[in-house]
Structure formats: structure tokens, C-alpha cells
Amino acid sequence: MNAMPSTDTPTTEPILKMTGISKTFPGVKALSDVALELRPGHVTALIGENGAGKSTLVKILTGIYQPDGGNIEIDGKKVDLPTAEAAQDLGITAIHQETVLFDELTVAENIYIGHQPRNRYGLIDWAAMHARAAAILHGIDAPISTRTRLKDLSIAQRHLVAIARALSIDARIVIMDEPTAALSYKEVEELFGIIDRLKKAGKAILFISHKFEEVWQICEYFAVFRDGRQVGAGRLDEVSHNDLVKLMVGRDVTQAFPKLPAEIGDVVLKVDGYCHPTEFDQVSLELRRGEILGLYGLVGAGRSEFCQALFGVTHPSAGTVTLSGKPITVRSPSDAIDAGIVYVPEERGRHGAITAMSIVSNISLPSLKVTSRRNFLRMAEEFDLARKYAERLDLRAASLSQPVGTLSGGNQQKVVIGKWLATLPKVIILDEPTKGIDIGSKAAVHAFMSQLAVEGLAVIMVSSEIPEILGMSDRVIVMREGRMAGVFEREGLTPEALVRAATGNKEAAA
């Protein structure tokens, strides 16, 4: 207690101390003998590949899972977290990767659900609820009306609501599970501003992220998990980037973004003056064989909407599409697939894969015409097709009949990509292809994209991660508020140029 470390920070005694935590699920040892410490006023990064046990630990901390063994101490006192409420009462709150909030309720209701302010008759005090919610939102500089329904907010705004909720219960320990996964560059900066404020307010923060640059930017401490064990922990300023990567994957990752040189061929896809009544305006592009075209912009810049219109999900109001020299009209995804344009959506679970169905059924779904004979299914052909692409993508699965939902995020993404490759497309559009997947799978997806380009596929990659855009793209189109804000060649492209184009000139405004 009195042995103060020789740093400028006054209190580095941990507020939370977990030791010897173990948790076993049928067939899987999710955590074995894990330790973690969180300190007030500091951010601790929790790093690990998917399946390393991070989520299990978060669920133990928030009272959702019970550990099989081990100790949890808060302020030096041993505590039990039998329920989610118990964890909340002890001041522990979590902001999740895909935040669980209530779409149909207002912002204020979301912030105060479960602990609504009451008036003297025991009824909900709506005025107080809205006033307090507004105060909290003001405190984190979030310009959101408390009466807006959640479904009308962007993903970034929802995160702000989740943070406001954490503050409303006066949490001392805030867990952020991949809070930046869906955020654009500028929104991440804003989030970091809020984290700074939480730090100054003395909160202990556990920050889970796949993005190393973020970890270096805002964290002071780290803990690395691998295969359910804690393989390293300490102060970040005492380790190097490479040390962390090695700890995390147990091997060296030579290059995270390995774009191979590919021969750039003829124009495959030509889009001219594409417009949508509300989402985008006058987008034109040319895409060549072997080329990876990066599409960068803030969330809400109209990138996904543009791609979905190309794929026939939504309908453009003007503009033409030419594929291999022939004008095409795409009215539905099946038209697009027939023409040779496929789309790997951002939301894997909702749009990308049918998670309750097997790997083989997912991969064969758009190719059933090929694997079947006169409309009659041939399972052997489907298994052959699925196995071919599963092996090409190095899919990790116990069997091809396994439901896709039981795979890790990275492997689910491989199934979605495999499904499209099996249709032998000309153009593949990948919308945030590595969102929320671990660094090992990420490198595999990048290597694979690059391989596709070498094989002559034309690739459009929507991404909000600057290193990914810089590393993978031959050319980059930046979109801002539904319009093209710039086209850049790979040579000499800088992150600053991208951000400037994406945010407009007046960075501080908006």
C-alpha cells in the first residue's frame, strides 16, 4: 500500500485484482489461471486473438458467467459477482462491441433503463430522467437529443449513449469491448477524448481492441491473452510493438498488410454518375482487373450505400454501370451475382452469413445452380465446393456441417468470402472486411485479397482503417457526405491526405 512506484501518477494501486481465474465450458478450457489488474485513472489494454478468452473474462467481470475458480478483489476486498446486477452495484459496467441497447426506446430511456429516477409516488420521474441524461451527454460533448429513438442514431452515436449509460450508474470500472470497431477515424478521436476525461475522473478502464495504434495512443498498461492464458502483462512503455504482437500470436507476423504486386489489366467495371435520392450523389469510378480500389471515408459517408446499390440491394436514381464493356442493369442481388459482382457486407451476422445454417449450406447457397442438376441438390458436389474454398481460405472448423454461428468472427468472414469466390465473380466488393477480427485472421484475409487481385479479380475494399487502406489499395477514393472527395494513387499517399479529404477542410467544425 505504501510502496509507491516512482511514477508521476499518484495512485497506481489496483482497484480491481483478479487472480487464478479459470473457466471451463463443455469441451473447451476458456480461461485457465488468468490474472488481471485494473488501476484507477488508467487504461489497461486487453489484447489477444479471437478465442483467446477476452470475452469470457468480460462476462465474468460483469456477472454473466461464474468462474470455476479464482479470486476477484475490489479495493482489496474479495467480492462475488453472482449476477449482472451485483457487478453493476459494485460499479462495473461494460460497453460492448455490438452495443446491446433498445432500438425502440429513447436515448434517455436507454441510459436509465433498470435504474430510472423515481418520483415520490414511485413512478418514473421523466423530467429528472431527461434532465440528467442531457447533463451526462453534455458532459461527454455528445450533441444528441435525449428524446431521439435509438434506432435513428448512427453506430457512433449509439456508443456515446452506451458510454453515457456507464456514467449514469456511476461506474468505477469501465470495460470497453472493441468500442472503435465500427467507428471512423474522427469518431475514434472523439471517443479517445471521452476516455481521457474518464481517466481524469479516476475511472479504471479496460480497453479491448485489435488495433495496436489505438492501444499505444491511449493505454498505459496491458495484458495479453493467448489460448485462455495470460501470457504477459505490465506497463506499455516497457515493451515494443513487436513484443506485443509476438506475445499475442506466439510467432512473428512479418507484415500485416501484404499487398502483392499484381498485373493491372483492362477496365472491368465502370460506374458513371451514380446517384441516390438520399445517400450518395454523382459517384463515378473505373476498376481494372487485378486492382484493389480502396473506398475510404467517415461512417455515414455513403460508401456502404454506394456498394449496396452496385449490388442491387438499393436502387440508384441515376447513373450507369458497365461491366466488361457491356452496360448492365442491376435490380436485385441475384442480378448482380449473375453479372459477376458480389458483395461481402459489413454486418456478417445480419447480412453476410445465415449463422444458424451449416458452413456447406452457406457456401453453396449462391452456387446451387452449379452444384445441383436440374434443380435437384447434390450434397456431394456441395461438400466438394465448400471444402475447396474452406481449404483455400484456411478455414478453422470441426466439420463442414457445423453452423456458421459457432465459428469465430474471422472464420465466419472466411465462409462469407468463400461463398462468393465459389460463384467465380469478376468484381468482389468487401465492406470493412476485417472489422472485429483478430490479427491472425486479418493477415490471412489481407493475403487472400491480394492473391485474388493477382489472379485477376477486381476488388473494391471499403475500410475505415487507414493502415489497411494504405497497405492494400492500388488507388483510393475518398467519400464525404455522399460525394467523391478525392481520388488518390498509391504512390506517396499519406494518412493526413486521406483524413483531410474525408473530413473536409474545417476539421474542427461539424
Binding site: P26, V28, E49, G51, Q66, D227, V249, G250, R251, F311, V313, S332, P333, S334, A336, I337, D338, Y343, P345, R350, H351, G352, A353, I354, T355, A356, M357, V360, S361, L365, P366, L368, K369, S372, N375, F376, L377, F383, R387, A390, E391, R392, D394, L395, R396, A397, A398, S399, L400, S401, K419, G440
Partner: protein
């Protein structure tokens, strides 16, 4: 969990882990079949008349028409929708056939009228759900009132019963020995439904739509077309059931087949078709149809009145659905405790 050194050589992923036998042993259909056999044994012990072949043959009449509805309903429920208008389609189709018979239509025409009205009603349901995007439960509750309402307006408290003598063949004829035309038709349709659902592209797409319509459409499945077709199928199935029922009864009243939509849904659910869509199979529904037929028949032999029978049916449905859930929950709890 992941073995990094093996990443260089592609690993072989097996098709499936369970053997076909193991999967069959754990399946819902096996459980249902056991229930069916148990009921059959109990029935044969309780009544000496149960095992008489002609008695058994008679017993098939009280569930085959509903079972034909249930076959089509299975497709609708697997796509995540529901069709509550089937019984009303029977009434409307029967009324149309009665009216046609009044003006002297022959048996082939009556048959086509019955199927045609069913098809038309199915098209209208499909239009409401697949084209206009109405929730199926709302749309088909609407058409449930609409179709039967028309039958009541046309018929009032009257009865159509001037059917030609040879019209009786659909509901009263025998294909061979003790096997009625109705029963043989049902078995034939069950085989066809099973092939369509489990062995064709359409069938696979039905499952895809029911599991995640959005992801299915992102995979190129024409979701609206699939939904339209399944409603068309329940319409035609109801038309066929109407031909059989009208032929068997030899008369039409507007109250014909009241409540059958729930019997059809019950058969499907009892047969293991998940009410949220995406799961279930034809074999289960066929066995469920037999289970329900056996129960009604057995209770009938024991002179249990119809009202009590419906209590019994309800209890059986809840029991059969709840039991596996309870067992699973107990298993899970034991696992967590360990």
C-alpha cells in the same frame, strides 16, 4: 486451439462429425415415432377394435385432409411466415364447388373449381405478404375472415348438396384394399413435399429465407418469390383438402372445416417445425399427423367426447414441445454446476 504450424498445408475438414445413425437416434422424429408406437400399443390394449384393418382405414379419414394442409403449412412456417386462412379457403372453395354443382357442373369441373379457388386465394395471400409486405399473421387473419365471410354471404344458413354421385370418389373412394384415395394421395404428396423441401434448390432457399431473410436476399435468393410460392402452395393444398372434404361429406355449409387452420399448425409444430422459421422437416410432420390421428381415433374408440379430445390434444402438444426443452435445461444446469 489453433495450431499455427499446420497452417501451411491445408487441413482436411470432414463433412460431418456425427454418424447418420447417431443423428437419427438424437432426432425429434425418433422421439415422435416412439410416441406414436406407444399410443398405438396403448390403443390396442384399451380397445379390441383398434387393430381391425377397416377400423384403422376409417381412422385415416379424420386426419388426412388436415395433414395435407399441414404439409403445405410446413413450407410456410419454415419460411418464417404463417397462413391462418387455410380453413376459410376450404369453406370458400367448397361454396364455389357447391354453386357450380347447382348449375350442373360435372365432377372434373368441380375438381378444377375447388383447386382454382384455392389457387386464387393463395395468390391473394401471397400478394399481400410477398408483394405488399404485410405481416403474414395480420394478412391471413384478414383473409381468414374475408374468405369465410364470402361463403356466409353466398350460403347464409343454406346447404349445397346437389353433388353428382361420382364426385364422392375423392372423399369416399378406395385406391386398393383398405387404402382410401385420400390416404394414398396424402402419402404421395408427403413424398413429393419431402423431395421438394429436402432435395431441391427451392427447398434449400425456403430454409435460407426462414433462417435469415436478409442474408438470404444478400446471397441472391429471391425472397419475395419464395414467399409468394409457399402461400400459393397452401392455397392449392386447401383447395385440394376442400375437394376431399366436400366429397366426403357430400354437402357444403359455410361453417365447414372451422378451426382447421390451428390443427394444421399444431401438426406442423408437433412435427418439429420451429414456429420462428428455418427448422423442421416433412418426415416429422407426417409422423405428427399419425400421432394426432391415432390419439383421436383411440379416444373415439373409448367414447371420449370431442370436447374432451381437444383438451387432450392441447395437453399433448404442450407436453411434447415442453419435454425436450425441460430435459435440455436440466442438462445445461448440470453442466454449469460441474
Amino acid at each position: 486451439m489453433s495450431d499455427q504450424s499446420a497452417a501451411l498445408t491445408p487441413r482436411h475438414i470432414p463433412d460431418r462429425l456425427d454418424s447418420p445413425f447417431k443423428r437419427a437416434a438424437k432426432s425429434w422424429e425418433t422421439l415422435l415415432l416412439a410416441v406414436a408406437i406407444a399410443i398405438a400399443i396403448a390403443n390396442s390394449l384399451a380397445s379390441p377394435y383398434f387393430l381391425d384393418p377397416w377400423n384403422l382405414s376409417d381412422a385415416t379419414f379424420n386426419f388426412t385432409e388436415k395433414a395435407i394442409l399441414a404439409l403445405a403449412m410446413t413450407f410456410v412456417i419454415i419460411t418464417g411466415e404463417i397462413d391462418l386462412s387455410v380453413a376459410s379457403i376450404i369453406a370458400l372453395a367448397s361454396t364455389a364447388m357447391g354453386a357450380a354443382a347447382e348449375v350442373g357442373a360435372g365432377t372434373p369441373v368441380l375438381f378444377l373449381v375447388g383447386l382454382g379457388v384455392g389457387l386464387g386465394c393463395g395468390v391473394f395471400n401471397g400478394f399481400l405478404v410477398a408483394r405488399l409486405g404485410l405481416p403474414a399473421i395480420v394478412a391471413t387473419i384478414g383473409t381468414m375472415s374475408l374468405y369465410r365471410g364470402i361463403a356466409y354471404v353466398v350460403l347464409g344458413d343454406q346447404v349445397y348438396k346437389n353433388y353428382p354421385a361420382d364426385f364422392a370418389v375423392f372423399g369416399q373412394g378406395y385406391a386398393f384394399w383398405i387404402f382410401s384415395i385420400e390416404f394414398v394421395t396424402f402419402l404421395g404428396l408427403a413424398v413429393v413435399a419431402s423431395i421438394v423441401l429436402h432435395k431441391t434448390i427451392f427447398g434449400r432457399q425456403v430454409y435460407a429465407v426462414g433462417n435469415n431473410a436478409l442474408a438470404a436476399s444478400f446471397s441472391g435468393v429471391k425472397v419475395r418469390r419464395i414467399k409468394f410460392i409457399v402461400f400459393l402452395m397452401t392455397g392449392v393444398a386447401a383447395g385440394l383438402a376442400s375437394v376431399m372434404l366436400t366429397s366426403r361429406l357430400g354437402s357444403t355449409r359455410p361453417s365447414i372445416a372451422v378451426g382447421w387452420e390451428l390443427d394444421a399448425v399444431t401438426m406442423a409444430v408437433l412435427g418439429g417445425v420451429g414456429i420462428n422459421g428455418g427448422t423442421g422437416n416433412i418426415l416429422g410432420v407426417v409422423i405428427a399427423a399419425f400421432v394426432m390421428g391415432l390419439v383421436t381415433f383411440g379416444l373415439g374408440l373409448l367414447n371420449v367426447p370431442g370436447i374432451v379430445m381437444s383438451i387432450f390434444m392441447g395437453l399433448m402438444l404442450i407436453l411434447v414441445i415442453a419435454l425436450p426443452l425441460v430435459v435440455q435445461r436440466i442438462n445445461n444446469r448440470r453442466r454449469v454446476a460441474r
